[in-house]
């Protein structure tokens, strides 16, 4: 038992239950009388639905009921919403088509839910779902965003003519055009960002329980933000008022963004529980997850980057078309706008930037935030462009970046963001040294002697984490504030419970949040418990996404600890007849500085609850709450270098080394941070080399299982060489920036830059599969 504070490699407290199979996930929850749901889903990507005949299904063994969208609508359950308003450049609001939790008259993607079957067993529910007979009138289908904007494309929502949701811009178009016209060199490139399926290890699941006596609902769900789920279900979907709706997100096996959103299934299971009088559980299978979990990325962009004669960037012009799928998911509008275009300055001084973004409906599953959310799109675009520019200008990619690095802070970009701290060259130098960049030419010669093509590529990323200042995001259209809450409850014996609105689904909060408290108070980490994920326990919170739990969630804990500490010092000063200002907290004791007088922490806690001898007028107890609203985003940044060797016979890419040099500010637990970076890089390598969601022309999902959707596996990955640089974040009390998404953001362009370096030209899209690399090699010849 020892004190394990900030900076220690504390092994994860939660791993004992995870590694021994004792985690308690939504699908592990069982309540008396519980029944099982199966959704009837559209087999067509676009169709009118007519008669829904459930007569035969209802007569099947074990079936309790079959419910459809008209019944849901009749009971006043609302449509799903997108929570971030974006206005087009002409001032008009985004054109949001209606998303009924159960389709009423039209289905718009394969997997769109039409009815729910509730039965005694999961198998019986599936059997009955297959027996529901639906009249479909098939409609023309479009799955590609660019095609959906073409004239004559199938019209998907009546609210959005031509399938255009919004046509938004940021920056100064005239200044950019002038700079391009005056440029010594302009690099032009078209960038495709491939579409990804999130694939958390635990598929989505929900258990809806309606209590007739109390007229109260309980929703177990695989959510990254149970309080937002309750807020949205209460305020917008009319499921129940907040005091009659408890949302519990217990152990959750990964999210990567896909479990931020409120999906139809949790709403429908709650409603179905009331309709049928039984608790209703639904657990997605893997194919259902491919079909219905919100996808990520799917951008097509045209880029122009202008340079003066000294290779300084003078302007950046970006035109992006983003596929949002069949409906606008909860944060879908924010991802290709304020989480994307605001990062287009990267690590560089760019005097003028203009980005135009059009978002489009297609007959595909909704697209929303996925690990990185907008920032990988910006980084991939920018880092491929500057690498291409370096090749065109005949300068080294490192030198071109150095020439353009931002070097003084704070730095106001032309696209809203105000960078508070950073040292981009430090990460660049660390990465180049770790990668032995200087020795690359010799290594390339060795590869060539063996008949292989070798390439090296870098990526200097920046991201905005710790989302986000509430007033700022409110002014940009967000429907919610993005603060966080914390409550620190000191028990009478001195043990401590920390209640947080952050949610851990792999991040290790039970360890890192406890480290913060242990270090601050000098008490054993075992005496601290972290409570999260239950709206009945934690009053309110905004959840975990956008690498915000450390920077925002832990900062709220700091504020609550400030209050606890202040009160504890008052009590200790009173007990020891000393001045409050002289009390210091060290090693689990409250001491009078410069004396041998002290009281142990537990005795102060006990005194606060016995209340026999408290300072005059002080309330008993030791429990404090705080809300923390950040004053700025945080800006993690770094440099990644990938070195690859390609087999020209097969097009197979072997990643021979991968170096990551990250500046995350101060680090709470280096082991957990390294784990986050490893996982992020693995996902980035997945995007760059393997993963790709593909629909056919009829909107059928071709990559609906692991037989066809290529996930990265251990043997696809090299060992990673990591290092950390540190410019502490000035805008939060811990100086931390966030590390959850960096790996996924920084790695794809480094890899593609390395592969294009190896093959000698730039015509390559992600994922760089063996076939595509082989084709690219042959196209070059």
């Amino acid at each position: 038992m020892g004190v394990e504070g900030i900076g220690a490699r504390v092994t994860r407290k939660e791993d004992k239950r995870f590694l021994t199979g004792k985690g308690r996930y939504t699908d592990d929850m069982t309540v008396p009388g519980m029944k099982y749901a199966c959704f009837v889903r559209s087999p067509y990507a676009h169709a009118k639905i007519g008669d829904i005949d459930a007569t035969a299904a209802k007569a099947m063994p074990g079936v309790i009921d079959v419910l459809d969208g008209k019944q849901l609508q009749a009971d006043g359950i609302g449509n799903l919403i997108c929570g971030w308003m974006i206005h087009s450049k002409d001032g008009s609001p985004m054109k949001m088509g209606a998303w009924h939790p159960l389709a009423v008259d039209t289905v718009r993607y394969v997997g769109d839910a039409i009815a729910i079957v509730v039965a005694d067993s999961s198998g019986e529910a599936r059997d009955a779902a297959e027996a529901v007979v639906i009249d479909y009138e098939q409609l023309p289908v479009v799955t590609e965003a660019v095609a959906a904007l073409a004239s004559g494309a199938p019209q998907i929502h009546p609210e959005a003519p031509g399938n255009l949701i919004f046509d938004w811009q940021i920056g100064e178009p005239d200044a950019v055009d002038e700079a391009i016209a005056a440029a010594a060199h302009v690099t032009e490139i078209e960038i495709l960002n491939n579409r990804l399926s999130p694939n958390p290890m635990e598929p989505r699941a929900t258990l809806g329980i309606y209590d007739t006596a109390e007229d109260h609902y309980t929703c177990y769900t695989t959510s990254q933000n149970p309080h937002v789920a309750r807020l949205v279900m209460s305020a917008f979907y009319n499921v129940a008022p907040e005091n009659k709706l408890r949302v519990i997100a217990p152990d959750v096996g990964g999210g990567f963004g896909s479990k931020i959103y409120i999906y139809p299934e949790e709403i429908i299971c709650l409603w179905a529980s009331k309709k049928t009088g039984v608790p209703v559980k639904w657990t997605s299978d893997r194919t259902e997850a491919f079909l219905t979990d919100a996808h990520g990325r799917d951008h097509a962009s045209k880029v122009k980057m202008a340079f003066d004669a000294n290779n300084h960037i003078t302007a950046l012009k970006v035109d992006t078309i983003a596929n949002l799928g069949a409906y606008m998911s909860l944060f879908s509008s924010a991802v290709p706008t304020y989480l994307y275009a605001t990062l287009l300055s990267g690590q560089y001084t760019i005097p003028a930037i203009h980005a135009n973004v059009r978002t489009v409906y297609t007959n595909t599953v909704p697209v929303d935030a996925y690990r990185g959310a907008g920032r990988p799109e910006a980084t991939y675009l920018l880092e491929r462009t500057i690498e291409t520019a370096a090749r065109e200008l005949g300068v080294s990619p490192a030198e071109l970046r150095r020439t353009n690095f931002i070097r003084s802070f704070p730095y106001q970009t032309p696209v809203i963001m105000n960078y508070d701290a950073g040292d981009y060259e430090a990460s660049l130098n660390a990465a180049m040294q770790a990668a032995d960049w200087a020795g690359f030419a010799a290594r390339r010669s060795q590869s060539e002697a063996r008949g292989k093509k070798r390439g090296i590529g870098m990526s200097c990323y920046i991201e905005a984490c710790g989302i986000a200042p509430s007033a700022a995001v409110g002014s940009l259209g967000a429907g919610v504030g993005l603060w966080e809450s914390a409550e620190v409850r000191v028990n009478a014996v001195g043990t401590i419970e920390v209640l947080t609105g952050s949610h851990s689904h792999g991040q290790g909060h039970e360890t890192t949040f406890a480290q913060l408290v242990a270090g601050r108070l000098g008490v054993p980490i075992e005496s601290i418990s972290i409570v999260h994920g239950d709206t009945d326990k934690v009053q309110m919170g905004m959840g975990t996404y956008g690498s915000r739990s450390g920077a925002v969630g832990m900062s709220a804990v700091v504020k609550a600890l400030d209050k606890v500490e202040a009160k504890a010092k008052k009590i200790a000063a009173h007990l020891m007849e000393a001045s409050e200002e002289d009390i210091v907290i060290e090693n689990g004791e409250l001491k009078v500085a410069g004396t041998d007088k002290s009281v142990p922490w537990f005795q102060v806690a006990l005194a606060s609850y016995t209340a026999h001898n408290l300072p005059s007028g002080m309330e008993p107890g030791l429990k404090e709450t705080a809300f923390y609203d950040p004053s700025n985003f945080t800006f993690p940044a770094g440099c990644y270098i990938a070195e690859v060797e390609i087999d020209p016979d097969t097009g197979e890419t072997d990643i021979v080394q991968f170096v990551a040099a990250d500046d995350f500010g101060n680090i709470i637990n280096p082991m957990i941070v390294e784990g986050q970076v490893h996982g992020g890089i693995a996902q980035g390598i997945g995007q760059a080399l393997l993963e790709n969601v593909q629909y056919d022309a009829n909107g059928q999902l071709l990559t609906a299982s692991y037989m066809d959707y290529a996930m990265p596996r251990a043997d696809d990955l090299p060992s990673f060489t990591l290092s950390h640089q540190n410019t502490p974040c000035p805008s939060n009390p811990l100086g931390i920036k966030g590390c959850g998404e960096a790996g996924a953001i920084g790695s794809p362009p480094a890899l593609i830059n390395a592969i294009t370096d190896a093959i000698g030209h730039n015509k390559l899209t992600m994922p760089a599969t063996p076939m595509k690399v082989w084709q690219a090699l042959h196209a070059a010849h």
């Binding site: 097969t650 080399l689 071709l702 037989m707 063996p770």
Partner: protein, 265 residues
């Protein structure tokens, strides 16, 4: 998965009896494809008759250079057999790279060839070795056994009991994995047998595993990877899918054939 009844057959006769008593039943010999298909509700056999626990169907016996592998022998046993590796290391290597460790301990040689997945490894190995497939009724030459995609010469209710082959003078196998499924996107088995050179290709043909006469002739006159350089691979009968089009597969057929020859020595 639809409900099914599981039977553990104790002998070949017991298995045949169970199968004939259950018209909608299926033999199960590892279930690496069948169980997955059932979980997707694409197959619904009324009964599963498990062959893996029939003692005579398991094991590898070697008599001089004649090899007999019981149909219910798991891939892991073939991969780990020192006796077999001493006379035909290529088939051990092939078995050792099927799927993952779970698959190699559950999946069996009989199950694999009876299923005849066009991307499975064993069909290439057995066709390349000129093996004979022994069933509860007869013996079938590999050349006659693999008849198309998921199709074999097996009759309704006929059960593979073993495969036999003469250890070749030389043999090698090289495959290129599908990046998603890790099945062979192209796998080539080459063998110098008493009956001549044989080259079998899996994962690539639109009708399943096939022999490549051009490669066989070239290697018969000059057993070297270089001999294959000028031999054309016709892409017109090769599969095209999102992972590999026919042109790329044709390239892989040649590259893997060369590597197989090199690994054969």
């Amino acid at each position: 998965m639809y409900a099914t009844s599981y039977h553990r057959a104790s002998s070949v006769e017991d298995a045949v009896k169970l199968k004939s008593a259950n018209e909608e039943g299926k033999y199960l010999s590892g279930g690496m494809t069948l169980i997955a298909t059932m979980k997707q509700r694409l197959a619904a056999p009324s009964d599963l008759i498990d062959l893996r626990h029939i003692p005579v169907l398991r094991g590898i016996s070697i008599d001089g250079r004649k090899v007999t592998i019981g149909a219910a022998t798991p891939h892991a046993d073939v991969a780990a057999s020192r006796e077999l590796a001493a006379i035909c290391p290529a088939i051990c290597k092939l078995a050792g790279h099927i799927g993952d460790p779970h698959v190699r301990h559950m999946g069996t040689i009989g199950g694999s060839i009876a299923n005849n997945d066009p991307a499975a490894d064993y069909p290439a190995g057995l066709l390349g070795l000129g093996a004979t497939i022994v069933t509860d009724r007869r013996s079938i030459r590999a050349d006659d056994f693999f008849t198309g995609l998921f199709d074999t010469a097996l009759e309704e209710g006929e059960m593979v009991t073993s495969v036999t082959f003469e250890a070749p003078e030389k043999a090698g196998y090289a495959k290129f994995n599908n990046p998603a499924s890790r099945f062979a996107m192209t796998g080539v088995f080459v063998a110098k047998t008493a009956g001549g050179v044989r080259v079998a290709v899996t994962g690539a043909g639109s009708s399943g595993v096939f022999r490549h006469p051009g490669f066989e002739q070239a290697l018969a006159s000059n057993w070297s990877a270089d001999a294959l350089g000028s031999v054309a691979v016709d892409a017109s009968n090769l599969m095209s899918d999102m992972h590999a089009n026919a042109e790329y597969r044709a390239n892989l057929v040649k590259v893997m054939a060369k590597r197989a020859v090199i690994s054969a020595g």
